[in-house]
């Protein structure tokens, strides 16, 4: 009787064999192994069975009303900028292409890449994370009015502290997702500069995001940011602003890919916020009131062409009340619009702290990020 072999092909090799993608030599060796190894033969059979079942499994049909909804959206003037149909090469391949250029040309390329719209790609990018602001995925942004007065920012109004938020997605009255995030603000020295450091941690499934942003103490201008994603997708990003240029690196820690971040950020698109928790600090530093409005931009990572900063329009729409930990607070309600998505923020009148951020999708899903705890407890300031 032929003994069962002790050495086995790896799962990738078996999968390539199952898909008939192995080279002839590899296929011959795996086939010979399978003749003597029922365990690996079972694995190959499983792969083939799964492939066949996955291709023939039923999927739901689009609802009958979808076409009417599409045509109604078009008739109402709704427009969406779609991503490209042909995948763009991954960043390291673009970098390799750029490396073939002369040094001067390469420098121009790197500076221009983040700002020139791709020939067939979206002009507005996306970002990830669970925060207080809307996160447009790909929708086109209507240009904001350009004659708005600049917003006065006074960083001395900011108070240090720590805030715990709960993210919930609600459908048909049921909570279908729930995650927690913690944001803290503390005074630090960043080199010789007096700064605020805002640290945030979002614990989700399967990822966790840790972020730290240093901002100049008085103006809240972004000086430096690090963000680390821990989970199946692991990466670390470090960015800093020098003048109007965003610099940095993005490192995929699982694979040692290192991507250079460099992009010109037009001053007219500022002020720039970093991180989707940024309303927590930024709205403390402005004087809210009836009719208040502002146009800001949220910095993206800039590690890929469509990973861009995007504008957000904020405006006070009224007043309301929000309950936090059993206590009711008087609030300003602020509409935050980005990329066709709108969120309503409830911002405490007493100190500008964001208590609640809520977004309702046309499909009836509600996403909200609500303050659950704070330390130290706020005292009325204004």
């Amino acid at each position: 009787m032929t003994p069962i072999p002790r050495l086995h092909p790896g799962i990738r090799r078996l999968k390539r064999f199952a898909d008939r993608e192995a080279s002839p030599r590899e296929a011959e060796r795996v086939a010979a192994h399978l003749e003597r190894c029922p365990r690996c033969a079972e694995g190959v059979a499983f792969f083939r069975r799964v492939s066949a079942d996955a291709r023939t499994a039923a999927a739901p049909a689009p609802p009958d009303a979808l076409l009417a909804r599409i045509l109604a959206s078009r008739a109402a003037g709704e427009r969406v900028v779609l991503p490209a149909g042909a995948p763009s090469p991954p960043p390291w391949r673009r970098r390799a292409a750029a490396a073939g250029l002369c040094a001067a040309a390469a420098a121009v390329f790197l500076l221009a890449r983040g700002n020139a719209p791709r020939e067939d790609g979206p002009e507005k990018g996306w970002t990830t994370g669970l925060g207080l602001l809307p996160t447009p995925a790909y929708a086109e942004e209507a240009p904001a009015p350009s004659d708005w007065p600049p917003v006065a920012v006074d960083g001395s109004r900011v108070r240090p502290g720590a805030w715990t938020y709960v993210y919930r997605a609600i459908e048909r009255g049921r909570v279908v997702a729930s995650e927690r995030g913690r944001v803290s603000i503390s005074p630090v020295r960043f080199g010789t500069v007096a700064a605020w450091r805002m640290e945030s941690t979002w614990v989700g499934e399967p990822d966790e995001i840790h972020e730290a942003v240093e901002m100049e103490r008085a103006s809240l201008q972004v000086l430096h940011r690090t963000a680390e994603n821990v989970g199946p997708s692991r990466y670390r990003v470090e960015e800093w602003l020098t003048g109007d240029t965003l610099h940095g690196t993005m490192v995929a820690t699982a694979r040692t890919h290192r991507i250079r971040v460099r992009r010109y950020e037009p001053p007219e698109d500022g002020p720039y916020l970093a991180g989707e928790s940024s309303p927590l600090i930024w709205l403390q530093a402005v004087r809210l009131g009836p009719g208040w409005r502002a146009r800001v931009s949220l910095l993206g990572w800039g590690a890929a062409a469509d990973d861009r900063s995007y504008p957000i329009v904020l405006r006070v729409t009224g007043e309301g009340r929000a309950r936090v930990a059993g206590r009711v607070w008087e609030c300003w309600t602020i509409e935050a619009v980005a990329g066709g998505r709108a969120r309503t923020l409830w911002v405490r009148k007493a100190d500008g702290v964001t208590l609640l951020s809520r977004e309702r999708s046309p499909r009836g899903r509600t996403v909200e990020v609500a303050l659950a705890a704070e330390a130290p407890a706020r005292a009325p300031r204004r």
Binding site: D53, L82, V176, A177, P232
Partner: protein, 178 residues
């Protein structure tokens, strides 16, 4: 009198010019597989509906950039896949999949093969987003690892590794720990 049925190229030209009838005809011809793709990627019927809605709302303008080279269906499929992937990244809604799959998946599993397919779909829906995306794109849609790498911003090797991780998890789920 013979009725002239417009060709796909004529429909594309008309839709590009903003013709609602042509857009509706393209929807009728392509919406079913695109909806299935978006549903498999996002794991949610509501998200799939939003993805297909957005694809067809944006289609007339996107067609102005479309170069008629290769299959229109394949181009549309890639646009839909990228739209769904961007939505997944932006929404980070891993847990909603588990809740929705029970309602979305076909109920009638009358024979063993159908039951096996339904079990597989549940197991696939339970995969983390990065693994499910690669599994769906490779095993259902037939993209190569190089194409998946370009779609997801990862290397072809990483795509292969994710697929193998997905398969290992599926096997554990369907056949128990080994």
């Amino acid at each position: 009198m013979a009725t002239h049925l417009p060709s796909e190229a004529e429909l594309i030209a008309e839709a590009r010019a903003g013709g609602a009838g042509a857009l509706a005809a393209l929807y009728t011809a392509h919406a079913q597989p695109l909806f299935a793709l978006a549903w498999r990627l996002t794991g949610s019927r509501a998200d799939a509906e939003d993805v297909v809605h957005d694809v067809f709302v944006g289609l007339p303008e996107a067609l102005r950039r479309y170069v008629e080279r290769g299959s229109f269906a394949a181009w549309l499929r890639t646009v839909t896949a990228r739209t769904a992937l961007m939505r997944m990244r932006a929404h980070r809604r891993r847990r909603e999949v588990d809740v929705e799959l029970a309602a979305d998946l076909p109920v009638a599993a009358r024979d063993g093969a159908a039951a096996a397919r339904a079990d597989l779909q549940r197991a696939v829906a339970g995969l983390p987003d990065p693994l499910r995306a690669v599994f769906v794109l490779k095993e259902v849609e037939g993209y190569t690892h190089a194409e998946i790498g370009a779609l997801l911003g990862i290397t072809p090797g990483a795509s292969e590794v994710r697929l193998c991780r997905a398969l290992r998890r599926l096997r554990e789920r369907l056949e128990g720990p080994r």
